[in-house]
Symmetry: C2
Subunit: 241 residues, 2 copies
């Protein structure tokens, strides 16, 4: 498999070989690849060379290491389109994945200052504070906090929140969801996110904040989501004008 007389560096040839084994399913998602020792015997190269190939694939997110356990094949990241305004539930079901939520908190609080400003509320106004872990096929994907003005949906219930919130809102006449503005940032997971998402300390996180509005321009939610960066990526098409 490895051609030592090729102009291509050995570590690169090993990388390509491992990638191919992932693509053909010989190395399956979530399963361990052989140890560095085994790979160096198999390819008849030094462990240094194997390590360079494996490091590059870890860096690219194709493999990941678990301390004391070995090196595993990463699952493909979920591609989230940045064009249409869809809910997590809708996104997952479109992919054939089962969306679910673990509701950590559902309460009514005074709007924190930044939420108050983003929702155009008066000081002291009440909002629902909805704290959820979003899961796809029972794997935690995002840790999310949603704020919704109490006065807009005075009858919002836990049950509605456990299903698709957008579906609920669109059934409440005359409310029609129109658009949202989103901000995407990269952060390092804090302790809470590490616990809630079950990711290693100091992992990268994709942080998204969404402010959504109804057709009449009323902002109706602020959503602060922390997505696992090892399982999620955002995609968008852009046009030259």
């Amino acid at each position: 498999m490895i051609d030592k007389r090729s102009p291509l560096p050995i570590y690169y040839q090993i990388e390509e070989d491992i990638k191919q084994k992932i693509e053909t399913g010989l190395y399956a998602e979530g399963e361990a690849i052989p140890s560095e020792r085994e790979l160096s015997e198999q390819y008849e190269v030094s462990r240094m060379t194997v390590r360079q190939a494996v490091n590059n694939l870890v860096q690219d997110g194709r493999l990941y290491r678990e301390k004391g356990k070995g090196t595993f094949v990463a699952e493909e990241k979920i591609e989230q389109k940045l064009s249409g305004m869809t809910s997590f539930t809708e996104d997952m079901s479109r992919r054939g994945m089962a969306a679910s939520s673990q509701l950590l908190d559902f309460s009514v609080i005074h709007a924190p200052k930044d939420v108050m400003e983003k929702l155009n509320l008066e000081a002291g106004a009440f909002v629902y504070d909805i704290h959820r872990i979003r899961l796809a096929d029972e794997q935690p994907m995002a840790y999310e906090r949603t704020y919704i003005p109490l006065e807009l949906f005075p009858e919002l219930t836990k049950t509605a929140v456990e299903g698709s919130l957008y579906h609920y809102i669109e059934q409440q006449q005359p409310h029609k969801i129109h658009k949202a503005s989103q901000v995407i940032e990269a952060t390092i997971a804090d302790e809470e996110q590490v616990d809630m998402l079950g990711i290693p300390p100091s992992s990268a996180v994709l942080y998204m904040e969404r402010i959504s509005q109804l057709a009449d321009g009323t902002p109706f939610e602020v959503v602060k989501s922390s997505y696992r960066a090892d399982r999620y990526k955002f995609i968008s098409d852009i046009y030259r004008t």
Copy 2:
């Protein structure tokens, strides 16, 4: 300033007070705020309480710590729109910032496999490999590697790359830039990125990959950019259909 009989937690009141001092410019961007000891004397609260307020503001990216130096007011992040297809040079000049590039490498290589596939090239095809640090007002913002098929622009020069590449391409008849697809991910900076961007080890990075095409559908570039997550965020508007 602090009302100990208020139902709002003390640390929250301190957070709000510090934020206001940032917004009014009393604490200036890039400058140190008082030490925890000074703040605890000033607010007449424990250092624990001050630390909680400061930690929250660090977590929110409003403040940042430098080891052994103190806690500083973060600069506002640059907001990069995800709608129009613009170049780094165009983005920065629109903001009134001076864009520049530090060209690290400009060479012609055999296309790496993933680039070959993304650009629909034959095996062995040549591409320009353009390695740049992108700077705004002389501060490094992104570490970028661009691949362009040699056969499309056989006369591409270093000088063209040092200016606006899109501008150059659009001057080459009959090439018209049409669209691009982008992927956004969050990663942890590797050693190279830490060095090139001058950021602390293990910082978060916004990774963007762009594949761009001409009006006739020919893919003409693959760009792999690593943006400093402490200085950059992406924004987009989305619509409910």
